[in-house]
Amino acid sequence: MTTGKLLLEAKGLKVSAGPRTLIESLDVSVQRGELWCVLGPNGCGKTTLLHTLAGLRPAAAGTVTLKGKSLADWAPGELARQRGLLPQAQHDAFSASVTDVVLLGRHPHLGRWAWESEHDRRLAHAALKAMDLAELADHDVTTLSGGERQRVGLAALLAQDPPLLLLDEPVAHLDLHHQVTALDHLRRLARERGRAVVMSIHDLNLAARFATHVLVIGPGRHLHQGPMESTMNEVVVSAAFGHPVAAERYGNRNVFVAD
């Protein structure tokens, strides 16, 4: 593990989908211990941005570096030990047990001829427990509900255990309790184990509660970013979503209410 705190850095990053430019130019740096929430309306480019930051698609312009090395220069297997991505809702065509799916997260850590060891199984089991799936360990993923499947995906990412975790709407299908416990687990990974988390999320209140930093993608490719407290306010959020949002103080945190 490198001692530097800086993990991910984008400079002049342009993100586009087909002929559409979604983000003109993004400069952002993500340090260990930070939890970033990416906020913005549908189709503003959150998914495309996350996939670009993960190195799954090339940047339209600009550079993305991980630990100071351009994403394109990482070998796929090596990169998979440095960053993980939870894609939006996956569908499973074939039956597989929950444990087996979570064990796939260990793939980048195994040599070509290696089979999962006891160590890998322990990590997978811990990930299952963290996502409250221990009782479903032997179930078939195709029989699970949408939220349970989402937690299986999260558990696989936890088993992969990369320093940088990129998540595309990780709590979209989860119930209230599991939304809070999943995000709490991610926050602890960032705080206590020096991981960095970047996720897209639609729930402003969860973002306000768990994020250390936010990136708000507004209309006209207008970006706001910075520490959550100073960046996330009524004006920025209302403008981004094109809908009036009021902020109220609740205890020691802000609560956002849509008009």
Binding site: A17, L56, R81, G105, G153, A156
Partner: protein, 333 residues
Amino acid sequence: MARALRLWLLLALAAAVTGWLALASGSVQVHPLDVLRLLAQPDASSDSQVLHALRLPRTLAAFGVGGLLALAGALMQVLLRNPLADPYVLGVSGGASVGALLAMLVAGSALAMQAGAFAGALATIVLVFALAQRDLSRLDTTARLDSAPRLLLTGVMLAALWSAVITVMLMLAPEARLRGMLFWLAGDLGGSEAGPWPLLLLAALLLLAWPLARELNVLLRGTAAAQALGVPVVRLRRYVYALASLATAVAVTSGGAIGFVGLVVPHALRLLIGNDQRVLLPACALAGGTLLLLADTLARTVVAPQQLPVGVITALLGVPTFIALLLHRGGRR
């Protein structure tokens, strides 16, 4: 790993027993103990002649073709992420059939027929690859669907085209050739001169596919998830397409369009032993070979001295077994 070894050993044992049975039975019965003796030390007896000149090559061919079909089926299902895919889903058997029938119409020799079948299969493989190339090699991880549907549709369309061409050829064919053609279309190992070649290719393809088996497991989770876990998705897809197509081409050239093995064997094994490709691929090769060998032995013994096309037997054996398995497992869930 230990579980996998036990399973493979069990399947290999079943294959050996089936092979023994196949060598002993036929219009001339050879005593099972004589089979072993004659295999080790061929002599001038007629039993030895039958065994070495006829039954051994056919047994090897049947096992090899069955293994290739099951392996191709398992790989196609992973490539297309579709449990209903079989080795012929992309039109390879149609192309081979057109080539074989054309050769039968023009020349009529067995060699010309096999050359025609292989050429037709290869032409289809190249054509599908060229038409779907853009989708096979593009990596759009943010797309809702992966590229598989378009590859699938390209293959299905081509298969439909071949089927129309086959119908025209059957209509125009002289009466005397028709029977041979129908036999070939139903899948038949009677005229096969492939001998040990399908089996050797099966071993080679299995050795090429097996090291990638864990990556195939990951690929089943979808394009984005696989790429994020470090699997080079585009390269892997092309490689798997090439392996599965080659297996299908050789199988169909050796035995005609034998159905159901490529669909039923991977499925049945998945239901029984799970979907880890590291265990599944070798198991498919063994079980597919055994099933086709059994079917071929039945095909040449049930109405002896008449022979049935083996494709009919695989369908008659495979379909009820498969449906029973589906219902049984479905009920338990």
